[in-house]
């Protein structure tokens, strides 16, 4: 009932994990029922190990959290040796997420993931707000197109490009990624923010600024999903504050073909199974099919946006 097609990929459900919120490896899958998760999107891997940012790395505000983890990961060599061999048998397609400092880093990661049988698709994290240079590719359509083209040439696997919300207009970036050969867009990464403790006059995160996620960013993500899906023909994967079946259906109506669930997993590790059960119930009650929902937003004729 939840089967979803995402380009060439056939998924059991439109619900995916959001990179960075379900671990570096498949361990946390034990919290979910088989068939509820469409694909496991893992945390960003970079060519070299990264120690990440100074703590505190995550703080809460009304409606969301701010994080500045700084892409802590043990690097490609570790991942190839310790994580990749476990992926083929996890029972759900795995999406590896690539990070780096320059275009050559991304190409290197894509080539490496391309050789791993357990990796079904590759998501490019071109939009992390918490590392130096993390957003250079996500705000400049020319630079974005260059790195996506390089990566496209390096793999025949599905290539997803994760875009940043921290841009004045997302359509030109979405189109640049599509023209450079992306198979899908993930919209969007965290929103750059700053939380302060006035008593100490210091930022509340150890690294200063951070990325906002959680329910507070959902309206913004919904607008960006709508705008980008209007601008391209490839599928758009929504990411930004979804925590219920209603949120997922809203994103589909806005133009998403699938939805990543991130911050909500922190509060409840089995939330994707709960959402899947609710989705099945709602679809049965309403007599609807998922694909009937995608991109069906009825925009009021008298209103411009």
């Amino acid at each position: 009932m939840l089967e979803t097609r995402l380009g060439e990929l056939h998924l059991a459900s439109p619900l995916l994990t959001a990179s960075g919120t379900f671990g570096h490896d498949p361990a946390a899958l034990a919290f979910l029922h088989p068939g509820d998760l469409g694909a496991l999107v893992l945390k960003t891997v970079t060519p070299e190990p990264r120690h990440g940012n100074a703590p505190p790395r995550m703080v809460e505000f009304e409606g969301g959290v701010m994080n500045s983890i700084g892409l802590e990961n043990k690097g490609l060599a570790y991942w190839r040796e310790q994580v990749a061999p476990k992926l083929a048998s996890v029972g759900v397609p795995v999406v590896a997420n690539a990070g780096g400092h320059c275009a050559a880093d991304y190409r290197l990661m894509v080539e490496a993931f391309s050789d791993m049988p357990g990796v079904a698709a590759i998501e490019l994290n071109l939009s992390c707000p918490n590392v130096v240079g993390g957003t250079q590719f996500s705000s400049d359509a020319v630079a974005l197109a260059e790195v996506v083209s390089l990566c496209r040439a390096a793999t025949s696997k599905a290539l997803w490009v994760k875009l940043s919300p921290n841009v004045p207009a997302i359509a030109p970036l979405a189109q640049a990624a599509e023209q450079a050969g992306a198979d899908a867009l993930t919209v969007c990464n965290t929103l750059a923010g700053l939380l302060i403790d006035w008593r100490t006059r210091k930022p509340r995160l150890g690294n200063g600024c951070g990325g906002m996620s959680g329910p507070a960013v959902r309206p913004l993500a919904t607008r960006l999903v709508w705008e980008s899906s209007q601008a391209v023909k490839i599928p758009v994967i929504a990411s930004g504050g979804a925590e219920s079946a209603d949120d997922v259906l809203d994103f589909l109506v806005a133009g998403a073909s699938a939805v990543q669930v991130g911050t909500a997993c922190f509060r409840r590790p089995d939330v994707i199974s709960l959402i899947a059960a609710d989705l099945r119930r709602i679809l049965a009650e309403e007599g609807l099919r998922l694909e009937q929902m995608v991109g069906t937003l009825r925009w009021p004729e008298t209103v411009s946006c």
């Binding site: 809460e60 959680g214 997993c265 409840r268």
Partner: protein, 274 residues
């Protein structure tokens, strides 16, 4: 999957009772639908209000007591948004719980003396630790040092006093027991040979206490374990938001950070930089 989360399950529990404890804390009793498996003292749960509202992420709390197979008790000091929301719930309300999480304390074998050092609600992991020691016949070798600002913040101290083990209290204002802090009490007891210096010293409490205790334990060469609390996003090892610096020469030293939630929250002092 790390051993620390392999048996954890997420479920809705029913709030059974909420009892005020001291000026700013509560005993929160939850009845779970599914009995959790056996877990070590010092293992923790992530709690949040069950039906939306409240904080976006859950909060970690050591399990204070296992009342029966399906009922768990937590000792919670009201400190911020997360704890305020939990302590505003009423019996019958749903509480989201993921349990058991974390490594907890390895209970020292009966022949080995243990000194438990608890500051305020840092007593939470030690009630079950003491129960296990007493069940193993090691009561006389289990010493409980309980400190707080004042007597009314020696939360639920009757529960500890009812156990048949040596117990000492310390308060900053002298309103109960030793007049001074826990490190001063420790110094005093060790100098008077009232505590075995070769014991396993286990500490939990406010960060200031733990730092003072760590400095003291290192200076004296004590065998020490700390139960730590940091900001946590998930509690089950996926978010990397609870890093604690590791000691490069120690067992965790292959990476500069350990995750408090799955590598801890209990650490040998020698394995971390603290």
């Amino acid at each position: 999957m790390p051993a620390a989360v392999a048996s954890a399950r997420s479920q809705l529990a029913r709030l059974d009772a909420l009892t005020a404890c001291g000026p700013d804390a509560f005993l929160l009793d939850l009845e779970l639908e599914q009995a959790p498996p056996d877990f070590a003292p010092g293992a923790f749960a992530m709690l949040s209000p069950g039906h939306g509202g409240g904080p976006v992420i859950a909060r970690p709390f050591s399990v204070y007591d296992r009342l029966d197979e399906r009922r768990l008790r937590f000792l919670i000091q009201v400190l911020g948004r997360g704890t305020r929301h939990l302590c505003a719930l009423v019996p019958g309300d749903a509480v989201q719980i993921t349990v058991p999480l974390g490594n907890g304390f390895e209970v020292a074998p009966a022949g080995e003396p243990v000194v438990m050092v608890a500051g305020g609600v840092g007593s939470a992991p030690f009630l079950m630790y003491a129960q296990r020691r007493i069940a193993a016949g090691a009561a006389a070798d289990t010493h409980f040092l309980f400190g707080a600002r004042s007597a009314d913040r020696l939360y639920d101290q009757d529960a500890f006093a009812a156990l048949d083990m040596p117990m000492h209290t310390a308060t900053d204002d002298g309103s109960s027991g030793y007049h001074g802090n826990l490190v001063q009490l420790l110094t005093d007891l060790l100098e008077r040979a009232q505590l075995p210096a070769e014991a396993r010293f286990c500490a939990c409490g406010p960060e200031g206490l733990l730092h003072a205790f760590a400095t003291f334990a290192r200076a004296r060469g004590l065998r020490a374990e700390l139960s730590l609390e940091t900001y946590m996003g998930c509690g089950f090892g996926v978010c990397n938001a609870c890093p604690i610096p590791t000691e490069p020469s120690g067992p965790l030293g292959h990476w500069p950070w350990a995750r408090t939630c799955v590598d801890g929250p209990v650490f040998a002092l020698s394995s971390i930089r603290f």
